[in-house]
């Protein structure tokens, strides 16, 4: 499992360009992931690969096609120094793990990587880097495997309740 390294401010237009937004199937979207930005990604990404970014990963549009395209490519986790708000939530909701790692910059492209969620770290090229825990109310959704699974058996929600 390898690392696909990107820089700061990777926007959702780069992850999946606007002209593919009529597609909703993750496998189909994956064929166009990073098209025009990093064309080899769609061809070479493998199950379990990890995308690594800098700050503000996933800024821009609210399109959920972005996490879906990464999921379709087999990516289960995105590691970044920080995430744009909507992308972070969309990722959690769709079952893609957004992992905040202050030392993400030190990870090199092509590094061999493994994620240990329970241990709270990722291991890149044999080096362990701490990742921050997912905030409380999002944790339940992560554990359920996404918001659909979480909400499926929910009959009602208590308005104005706190987490």
């Amino acid at each position: 499992m390898r690392v696909w390294k990107f820089g700061d401010d990777i926007d959702t237009d780069a992850i999946i360009p606007g002209r593919f937004l009529t597609i909703y199937d993750p496998a189909e979207l994956a064929k166009h992931a990073f098209e025009g930005t990093r064309d080899e990604f769609a061809k070479e990404a493998r199950e379990g690969d990890v995308v690594v970014g800098g700050t503000n990963f996933g800024c821009g549009s609210s399109r959920e096609h972005a996490p879906l395209a990464l999921l379709g490519a087999g990516v289960k986790a995105v590691v970044a120094k920080s995430f744009a708000r909507i992308f972070y939530r969309n990722a959690v909701n769709t079952g893609l793990l957004p992992l905040v790692c202050p030392e993400a910059d030190s990870i090199r492209d092509g590094a061999t990587v493994a994620v240990d969620l329970a241990g709270g770290y990722i291991e890149a090229d044999g080096k362990r880097l701490p990742i921050e825990p997912v905030p409380g109310f999002m944790k339940e959704i992560v554990d359920a495997g996404g918001l659909v699974a979480y909400a499926k058996n929910l009959k009602e929600v208590k308005r104005c309740s706190t987490e």
Partner: protein, 417 residues
Amino acid sequence: MAATIAEKIFSMKCGRSVRAGDVVMAPVDAAMIHDITGPLAVRVFGEMGGERVFDPERIIMLFDHQVPADSIPAAENHVFMRQFAREQEIHNYDLLEGVCHQIVMEKGRAAPGEIIVGTDSHTCTYGAAGAFATGIGSTDMGFVLKFGALYFRVPESILLEVEGKFGRRVGAKDLILSLAGDIGADGATYMALEFTGRAIEKMNMAGRMTCANMAIEMGAKAGIVRPDAATWDYVGARRDIEPFDLAGDADAAYRERRHYDVTDLAPQVAVPHNVDNVVDVTKVAGTKVDQVFIGSCTNGRYEDLFEAAEVMGSADRFADGVRVIVIPASRTEYLKALRAGLIERFVEAGALVEAPCCGPCMGGAFGLLAPGEVSLSTSNRNFRGRQGSTQAQVYLSSPATAAASALYGEITDPREV
């Protein structure tokens, strides 16, 4: 206890004091879905076991990104959404009215103190009406369609106090671009921007919408303009509502207070490929452009078209070799411009005037750029590939700067025209 506007809105909705950092399952006053992100939300609603939406009257549906349908899949999406609207008895504006954010505002579907979500990142536009409005993804929207509520982390707020008087042909778009440059593309992530000060008070609703619209370009969750007489006039003309006071308290716990003065602000341009890559127009004047786009939810209102026409003055042609695409943000704004003779001016000068929709801003419908082409656009994003080829360059500016540049075929300071 002193509170910011965002804190007050969540407190009002929940009938108790709610503060930044609290996570609440807040009720939603309105939910907007459109043709691109709506179909997925509807599907997710079904997968969540949703049968009836929480309240059809609170759902705003319309098509604007790919209209009229530019492909068979787009047409199929429209059919799918129409079907859902019929089944659920949701009023569907369909493709008749224009760009989502303009429609929510002009139909009076947003008001001070409301919590509004939309499956579009620029939903923050309704902060111009004093609402807490934020963009969400389709899965969150599926949840909202089912339950009418969503978990929100109440954000900290940055208070922006904007004083001074704009110079000639400088305005709201120049201000918000300069703020993006100053605060940075992620400088307000997870936070709300609260706009106050004399320059904002004197700004018309069109300008306030331009400002609130681009809060997301600094990562903000919402951009809220403190409601005043202008807000209540605008909202009151569209629905029955009693004005009330909704201001941030002077001693509220703002994360930060920033002061600006617009008096000496020059026209601003965001240069490729980030919205916070902002310079004075003089720094890029002379850059050749292939396409000029005047429109979008940021700058497609009558006031924007008027601003562009004013800069055109008596000029009767745009520069040779420049494609000028003008798209009013809504049917209402189109008609206003038409009746004022602006549309005729643009067409005579050589512009393509399209029916209300997102157009080139969406980067998937039409008006796409070839590799190597340069575009100046009044929209809100210049990301690489946003308007076509990843090898194209997109600059962002005000309608005045766009019109001046269309006249000369190169980026031009509107004050010099």
